[in-house]
């Protein structure tokens, strides 16, 4: 017998009772096991079967169990186990299907004791009962588990796992009769050793083979399993259904798993392929290994804790033909190398930042952001655990919430609802919108509105003498502007009437433009028109603004506006002037459009009261012969682009609409269309259907206005004969009855018709509304309990 294999000195030297050390084996190892007193280790593999003594400084080969000139396959071990009670007793699982026991107390060279050849296929695992001396369990590729009594010549019971190969068997540490078996098809079965006919319970633990399992040494309910799916799972078996309580994702298939002694939450794993390291995990922290041993050059095939009550020594055998003793203190701690800082943006612009507490506190005297962000420091401390060697980790998580007013989208919705885009004189619109913006704490926007008003309507503010030279030509311009406003007002009246009948279908037509989604600001909204669209919401009265508000305008300080007003002087105006004359043509076109539209819709009449819609007549046309509004156009154009660039399409579009012809020519159609589309899209995302429709209506781009022209037909069936109402009018062709009769007043409904989806009765909007205020039953008397929502 060989006396000693090569022994090398290794990494550390000042260990108390051992150190990290290794020795070369002659052949790759498949499995290792230690004896109870932790002084010897057995290494088994295809071509090796040896016992080494664990000495202070080195491994010393004690015994070679592989004897005979031509060793048989019985020596080719897939697994080995040293009995934990009887120190002379070992068992091996042979690749040819044999289960062999070895008695070290035998005087002869050949220590083979018993040979069981009952399995037809490779035996993957053998396991001694932890407290019973003569009980041995084996699990084989042929799908059977066999329990042997070592005093008898053959197995005492056979457990059939139903055809799939058994990869691991483990006796429970605490329950005398229980063992767990893991299978190639992903299942884990629990058996009672006394009942070979049927498993006690079965559950699917992994996808693909479960290569290993291990009972927790202290906690009787915990079973750890490792599979080809690269996961380690810890199951609580005390409940009725096995419950997965922890899961660790590794980077390669898990070949072995072993709980660490004396550490409730630690387990060691090694992989079957590709990855050569041994990891020790704290299962509560599944994302980073607690410790890593990186010594092996090929896959680790066997790991075992040297002593069942000492967590500091780990032994491992590998395909690289080495046997290692790893000292825990020499392990690599990946957590030390990990980057503990994390940064993430939330969906609504919130920013979360986690860092080591020390870092945060050193920065604590730094001022927080001036923008009024709020910080919530959250501290995580690990509970101090005396058995815990993990570096104390405490990190601070800071969440920076963005300013409510500037980064939440509330302001967007509010602005959209409150802005006035049409229906009032230009100056009033501007003032109103400025006020809205100011109330929403958006001073810059507010000031912009005020400035716009001043630029385009207030002669007092225009002091530049330059344009006066062209006075004769320019004089007409303001006229046109005010004229156009008037027209817009009345034009809108007709259009909004039409709008009501189209309401149902309008949201379908909008193309979503993904461009400017994220942030945008701005908006406008005419309460009056919303009222006229009452079909969708029955509350148009509420949202109306006090007219008083419009007139009580405050002038803000205009500090921020300087950046816009200053460059004015530098600009030439001539070409602006050239552009302007074409404005009326546009107007003509618009006017021509409206009747055309209503022509299309002729068959759908609408009865909703238009009274709520106040047709604006301009009180005082704003004449200012000295004021060439177009002078500001380049600045305004830039300003709009600026807002759009900032993501505030709302502002860009609102201004565009309010200014109307004053600016429209300045901006190319594509850009306008793009802004409109973006804004409409945003409005629809916020379900501001009314506002979006308003914008569509007010837009001057043909591509936008036509959004409302598509699919505006509503097909209805006769309420009597259920046939489609093919022709115009209110009498059904076939049954010559009036369709759509109001259930309350029994007249034909020729406008807004509301009906119950439950019983399909209905009638005039107001009638039904009033009826249902006092009664819950259908007015038609059908007994249905109609509901308004």
């Amino acid at each position: 017998m060989e006396k000693m294999s090569r022994v090398t000195t290794a990494l550390s030297s000042n260990a108390i009772s051992g150190r990290t050390m290794f020795c070369h084996l002659d052949a790759p190892a498949n499995a290792i096991s230690v004896c109870r007193d932790a002084t010897q280790v057995v290494v088994a593999g295809r071509n090796i079967f040896k016992i080494y003594a664990l000495e202070e400084e080195q491994f010393v080969e004690k015994l070679n169990l592989r004897v005979g000139r031509k060793p048989s396959l019985n020596f080719s071990c897939a697994d080995v186990m040293w009995h934990q009670m009887e120190e002379n007793l070992l068992a091996t699982a042979a690749t040819n299907g044999a289960v062999v026991t070895w008695n070290l107390g035998k005087p002869s060279r050949n220590k083979q004791d018993q040979l069981f050849t009952e399995h037809k296929r490779t035996v993957n695992k053998v396991c001694f009962h932890p407290t019973e001396v003569y009980m041995l369990l084996s699990g084989s590729q042929d799908g059977f588990m066999k329990c042997f009594d070592l005093r008898k010549k053959e197995s005492v019971s056979t457990f059939s796992g139903q055809s799939e190969s058994v990869r691991d068997v483990q006796f429970s540490m605490k329950d005398y009769f229980t063992f767990a078996a893991s299978f190639e098809n992903g299942n884990v079965q629990l058996w009672d050793i006394r009942r070979p006919d049927r498993y006690e319970r079965m559950f699917t633990a992994h996808t693909g083979p479960v290569f290993c399992c291990d009972w927790h040494p202290d906690d009787r309910g915990w079973l750890a399993t490792g599979g080809r799916d690269k996961m380690v799972k810890v199951w609580d078996m005390t409940t009725n259904r096995a419950k997965e309580i922890y899961c660790v994702q590794t980077i390669a298939s898990v070949a072995r798993v072993k709980w660490r002694p004396e550490r409730k939450f630690h387990l060691a794993t090694c992989s079957m392929m590709v990855d050569h390291n041994i990891y020790v995990w704290d299962i509560r922290r599944p994302f980073i290994p607690f410790a890593t041993f990186e010594e092996h050059k090929d896959v680790t095939t066997g790991i075992v804790w040297r002593h069942q009550h000492d967590p500091h020594f780990l032994l491992s055998g590998s395909k690289d033909s080495t046997l290692y003793q790893h000292m825990f203190k020499d392990a690599t701690r990946p957590v030390d190398k990990a980057n503990p800082e994390g940064l993430c943006f939330g969906l609504f612009g919130d920013l979360a930042f986690a860092a080591k507490e020390s870092l945060i506190s050193s920065d604590a005297n730094r001022k927080p952001y001036p923008g009024g962000d709020r910080r919530y420091p959250i501290f995580f401390f690990k509970k101090p655990d005396q058995t815990e060697q993990f570096a104390h980790v405490s990190s601070a998580l800071s969440v920076f919430e963005t300013d409510l007013d500037s980064n939440r989208m509330d302001w967007f919705v509010k602005t959209a609802q409150l802005y006035l885009l049409s229906g009032k004189p230009f100056a009033e619109l501007c003032d109103h919108n400025a006020k809205v913006a100011r109330e929403l704490k958006r001073p810059q926007v507010s000031t912009t509105w005020t400035m716009l008003r001043i630029m385009f309507s207030d002669p007092a503010n225009l002091t530049t003498p330059g344009p006066n030279h062209n006075l004769s030509k320019l004089g007409t311009l303001p006229l046109m502007n005010s004229f156009s406003m008037k027209e817009m007002g009345s034009g809108m009246g007709t259009e909004s009437r039409l709008e009501r009948s189209k309401g149902e279908s309008r949201q379908d037509n909008i193309h979503l433009e993904p461009g400017n989604m994220h942030i945008s600001n701005n908006n406008e909204e005419n309460e009056e028109t919303e009222g006229s669209e009452g079909q969708a919401e029955y509350m148009f009265g509420d949202a109306e603004l006090d007219d008083d508000d419009l007139y009580s305008m405050e002038h803000d300080n205009q500090t921020e506006e300087q950046e816009y007003t200053l460059p004015q002087e530098a600009f030439q105006l001539r070409h602006e002037i050239m552009d302007n004359p074409s404005a009326p043509e546009h107007l003509q076109q618009d006017k021509a459009d409206s009747p055309h539209v209503s022509g299309n819709e002729a068959e759908v009449t609408c009865l909703t009261p238009i009274e709520s819609f106040s047709l604006i007549s301009i009180s005082q046309p704003l004449f200012s012969p000295h004021l060439p509004a177009s002078f500001f156009c380049p600045i305004v154009r830039e300003m709009l682009s600026y807002y759009a660039e900032q993501g505030d399409v709302q502002m860009a579009v609102s201004v565009l609409i309010v200014l109307g012809d004053r600016i429209r020519k300045e901006i190319d159609d594509l850009t306008q269309e793009h802004w409109y589309m973006s804004y409409i899209d945003l409005l629809q995302r916020f379900e501001l259907w009314n506002v979006s429709n308003e914008v569509i209506k007010l837009s001057t781009c043909s591509a936008i206005t036509c959004l409302n022209q598509a699919s505006t037909t509503l097909h209805i069936n006769c309420s009597n004969c259920k046939r489609p109402m093919s022709n115009k009018g209110w009498i059904c062709d076939r049954c010559h009855q009036c369709a759509s009769v109001c259930a309350v007043c029994h007249h034909v409904v020729k406008g807004l018709f509301v009906w119950c989806q439950g019983c399909s009765h209905g009638g005039h909007l107001e009638h039904i509304m009033n009826w249902l205020k006092s009664s819950t039953h259908c007015p038609a008397g059908c007994g249905h309990l109609c509901e308004y929502t």
Binding site: R46, L73, A78, T95, T117, R121, T122, R228, M273, H276
Partner: protein, 547 residues
């Protein structure tokens, strides 16, 4: 016929749709186009005996289309397309144009057409499978039809193949087909080569590459060595081979690409085995699958006669039945014996080892004896097979190769993990396919029911692995001798090691009482076992390289 113009590529696409209206539309287009081409050829005097016999350019193009139509009329899973194609062909013929007719009798030379899956009569499940296949490839190849004996397997096979060839993967599409061509060409499998030449060109491959491996990119040329070794002597593969491929500077392969290539190579090597093993005939629309000649006096074409297809077939069966009456029973008896008294004989370990060695050497002798009998049919070898790659005879005399132990490197534990790591999902698919092939059983043997065939399947599987030098520690190779008779061994050996030498006689001479579906089943086993064996060697080499 390989070069198709762009316009013609999209022509057939609509036919794979499950939507009947889009199929109809596609058929309408084809109809118009065919008619246009027919008219372009000009009016044909009724008396003249077809002026179209030899080819002006439009003529050839038309012939291709007609051949494709012929294929569709027989093989399309959609009844409406089949009918319309047949009608269109008829109307073309009525115009005086010569139309093709299929050569041969069905998808296989070995198996009578009437036994093979008929596209028109299949159950719903199979119908769904072949519709999927048709939609993916625009054809239903003969291989699929023959595999149709075992629809479960067919599904798994087609899914894997589809994933390998068409889904996400590290290699570009034309590379994949070219690798398929390379692999099939190693075994001179003209059927697969033809099929993939078409596909290769369709996905935009450079026709120049088809002139030979020399014209292909350097990167693919380097794969030639691996191809050769894998096909004939996979046990010689070492990590140096892998290293050479991975470390070739600008022509080097990435690991993921290499795995993809290896899976493709092994897939097509084994598929070539299947093709020869089942005597798959050329596709109707490919070269040699159809003819424009009018039917001659004999109903059978030359190759059929040479292979004794036809009347003789039935005659043989009758004779065979009398001769080997009880063959099945003997086999079953042996299986039973083995099952019962395996503990009695309790062979020593040395004995077991020798048995493996004996089986190994004997498997070599099996073919050497056969070599003189069957002359390799070289006439079908393709033009672009690199002549410098001589056929390597399977032989291990004189060289010592250590036995590959499955217990040390198995597909389930090691191979799977490696493949899945580098080429996600494919590991899973291959795993399913292997298991499907290995576990497939109907518990029947010939006319007997309720037979546990696991022992027989395992013997076949392990015998093939044995020929590749792969040993199962837990298997008694004595069983093989009991269960597999000599003619069967000859067939297995030929099919696995030099499939191009398989003859109809071999196919017929083993297991004479068994049904064709069972023989196809055997072929599936052989194919998968071979693929796994090659894969194991290749993956082991890659693993060694990586560690």
């Amino acid at each position: 016929m390989e070069v198709q113009d762009q316009e013609s590529l999209g022509r057939w696409d609509g036919l794979g749709s499950r939507d009947i209206s889009s199929r109809t539309e596609a058929m309408d287009n084809i109809h118009q186009e065919v008619m246009r081409k027919v008219e372009a050829i000009g009016p044909i005097p009724a008396s003249a005996p077809s002026p179209l016999a030899s080819g002006s350019a439009p003529n050839i193009d038309l012939n291709d289309i007609l051949a494709h139509l012929l294929m569709l009329s027989k093989r399309c899973p959609f009844e409406d397309v089949r009918e319309r194609c047949a009608r269109l062909l008829q109307s073309v013929q009525d115009l005086g144009v010569r139309i093709p007719r299929p050569l041969g009798n069905g998808p296989s030379r070995f198996i009578p057409e009437k036994e093979i899956l008929q596209v028109s009569k299949v159950d719903a499940r199979t119908q769904a499978i072949i519709e999927d296949a048709f939609a993916a490839l625009g054809r239903l190849d003969n291989i699929s039809l023959v595999m149709g004996f075992h629809p479960q397997y067919l599904e798994s096979f087609l899914r894997t193949q589809h994933y390998l060839l068409q889904m996400d993967g590290p290699l570009s599409l034309h590379y994949r087909h070219y690798i398929g061509i390379m692999a099939a060409a190693r075994h001179q499998c003209s059927y697969l080569v033809n099929l993939h030449v078409n596909d290769f060109l369709q996905v935009g491959g450079d026709p120049k590459w088809l002139n030979g491996l020399d014209e292909a990119p350097q990167k693919l040329q380097q794969l030639g060595e691996l191809n050769k070794i894998l096909a004939h002597r996979p046990w010689l593969l070492t990590k140096e081979h892998i290293e050479r491929l991975l470390k070739a500077e600008e022509h080097s392969w990435s690991l993921a690409e290499l795995i993809h290539a290896v899976v493709l190579l092994t897939h097509y090597h084994s598929l070539a085995s299947f093709t020869f093993g089942c005597g798959i005939t050329p596709e109707i629309h490919c070269d040699g699958g159809h003819t424009f000649r009018p039917p001659s006096l004999s109903q059978y074409c030359v190759c059929d006669i040479a292979n004794g297809n036809g009347h003789a077939n039935h005659h043989d069966d009758l004779l065979g039945n009398q001769e080997v009456c009880g063959e099945v029973e003997v086999l079953m008896e042996r299986m039973k014996q083995l099952q019962e008294c395996r503990d009695d004989e309790e062979a020593s370990q040395e004995e077991m080892a020798t048995r493996f060695e004996r089986e190994k050497t004997e498997s070599m002798l099996v073919v050497t004896a056969e070599d003189e009998e069957c002359v390799p049919s070289r006439d079908i070898s393709r033009h672009f097979e690199d002549p410098s790659y001589g056929y390597k005879d399977f032989s291990r005399r004189g060289e010592h190769v250590p036995t590959f132990r499955v217990q040390d490197y198995s597909w389930e534990d090691h191979g799977f993990s490696l493949v899945n790591r580098l080429y996600p999902d494919v590991g899973q698919m291959l795993d399913e396919k292997f298991q499907m092939a290995y576990n497939l059983t109907y518990n029947t043997m010939a006319t007997h029911k309720d037979v546990d065939t696991s022992m027989l399947r395992r013997a076949i599987w392990n015998y093939i692995h044995c020929m590749f030098g792969i040993r199962y520690d837990d298997y008694d190779y004595g069983e093989i001798n009991q269960l597999l008779d000599r003619s069967f061994k000859i067939y297995i050996k030929t099919m696995v090691c030099s499939p191009e030498k398989t003859t109809k006689r071999m196919y017929e001479s083993f297991w004479r009482q068994f049904q064709h579906s069972e023989k196809v089943h055997v072929n599936l086993l052989l194919m998968e076992a071979r693929m796994q064996a090659e894969l194991l060697y290749a993956l082991r080499a890659i693993t060694r390289y990586m560690t």
